[in-house]
């Protein structure tokens, strides 16, 4: 077997790369500052930061964040009782959060829940709407009816929304209609909502997912 011992191999001109025209077989670690491959890399396992990968398939979760929708009393206000989209100055704001997508462009998926209720007889129709600060129209609305004849004084809302990401910071907000408390406990038979079960434990989450497109 022939063997060459040398500290350096360089191309013929002294500055160009050496060409291995019949392949290269390395036992041990191959270290390179950059590896550029024309067609494919096949490995048992790939390690490292995959942020630069493209075409890895849309729908991959890039980032997930959660914020707390606190238990709180609110001023009673309502969305108009018609088929127009609730506006950003209607109802009562119960939550707001500035958010800068880290992976723009991507899809933003928002999932949140909260309980819109009444501590006194202020409303029957409860609703919850999602807004972003540069749009007056609500992005998404859910509604529920409590029962004035059945002693139900609240409604648990679940709201899901998908939208395209944006560059820079925008503020997402939630506004409630109909009630005067958020995330209060169910008071029991013929009883309005109460502060039950602990402030922190009866809060809910506002979850933002960044999904690759």
């Amino acid at each position: 077997m022939s063997e060459i011992k040398t500290t350096k191999l360089i191309g013929e001109t002294g500055v160009d790369a050496v060409n291995f025209t019949s392949g290269l077989n390395v036992t041990g670690v191959s270290t390179a500052t950059n590896v550029s491959v024309a067609s494919s890399v096949t490995a048992g396992t790939l390690f490292g930061n995959g942020a630069g990968l493209t075409n890895a398939g849309g729908g991959i979760l890039l980032k997930k964040s959660a914020y707390t929708v606190t238990r709180q009393t609110i001023t009673h206000a309502t969305f108009p009782a018609d088929d127009t989209i609730p506006q950003i100055n209607e109802g009562t704001e119960i939550f707001s959060q500035a958010y800068t997508p880290s992976n723009h462009p991507c899809d933003i998926v928002i999932t949140t829940s909260c309980r819109v209720g009444e501590t006194s007889n202020v409303g029957d129709i409860m609703a919850l709407a999602l807004y972003v600060n540069d749009s007056t129209d609500a992005l998404r609305v859910v509604s529920g009816l409590n029962g004035p004849r059945s002693n139900i004084h609240n409604y648990n809302m679940i709201l899901v929304h998908k939208m395209s990401s944006w560059s820079g910071a925008k503020t997402l907000s939630l506004r409630a209609s109909g009630g005067n408390c958020i995330n209060y406990g169910a008071g029991g038979y013929d009883t309005f909502d109460k502060q039950y079960f602990g402030d922190a434990t009866h809060s809910t989450l506002f979850i933002i997912e960044e999904i690759s497109t």
Binding site: S2, K5, T6, K8, I10, G11, G14, A17, V18, N19, S22, G23, N25, V26, T27, G28, V29, S30, T31, A32, V35, S36, V37, A38, S39, S40, V41, T42, A43, G44, T45, L46, G48, N49, G50, G52, L53, T54, A56, G57, G59, I60, D83, I85, P86, V109, I125, A127, A129, L139, R140, V142, S143, G144, L145, R149, I152, N156, I158, V160
Partner: protein, 210 residues
């Protein structure tokens, strides 16, 4: 420092690869047609087309897709009042979506919500069920009671997990029990309020690696 200058290096036979039995260190760009590595590739950052990557650790989200469930009125039908699984011919279909998993090696997590309500006095209880086209039994059912009040419906939520069936299309559907509207607003009897597009809901599918 010793140095060898050469255009091409081949193995001893003239056709086989050169073996670097102590590793190789390249300063600058290493350009290769194909790289095949028995154990692992480690990089500060991986760039390029990742569509062919398989064998990702179990429990990771591979793909999340959402479809909108529109606001709509429906006809009225009910599931039988017994302890049998609702059938794909029962109730009223109000949503369907063809879906092709990107891989067989994942679980599918389905999550959806819908406001299920009556626009007139037709029901005391409401429900909805998830189906897939090649199975007559429902995959999952949820219900709510709304009689003796003025509630007239509920926001119902279904969460379901099932294995992927591979890279081919099947169709999911949602069917309604007893109510006659989807995603109408709660206004006594259900009504069209707050705008059709904003009062729609979502059906989401997550692929989780196995």
């Amino acid at each position: 420092m010793s140095e060898v200058r050469v255009d091409n290096i081949t193995g001893e036979t003239g056709t086989d690869a050169v073996k670097f039995t102590k590793g190789i260190s390249v300063t600058g760009v290493a350009t290769v047609g194909n790289v095949s590595v028995a154990s692992s590739v480690t990089a500060a950052t991986l760039f390029g087309n990742g569509a062919g990557i398989t064998g990702i650790t179990a429990g990771k989200l591979l793909r999340k897709t959402l479809y909108e469930i529109p606001r709509q009125s429906t006809s009225f039908a009910s599931f039988p009042n017994d302890d049998t699984a609702p059938q794909i011919t029962e109730g009223v279909e109000y949503f369907s979506q063809s879906y092709t998993p990107s891989t067989a090696n994942c679980d599918l997590f389905i999550f959806c919500t819908a406001g299920v309500r009556e626009t007139q006095n037709i029901a005391d209880d409401v429900g909805m069920a998830l189906f897939i086209n090649d199975q007559t039994d429902a995959l999952r059912v949820v219900t709510e009671y709304c009689s003796s009040s003025v509630v007239h419906g509920a926001i119902l939520t279904i969460a379901h997990k099932m294995p992927s069936w591979g890279v081919s299309a099947k169709t999911f559907s949602l069917r309604l029990h007893k109510a006659d509207s989807i995603n109408y607003a709660a206004f006594g009897y259900a009504q069209q309020k707050y705008g059709a597009s904003t009062h729609a809901s979502y059906f989401s599918i997550e692929e989780i690696s196995t």
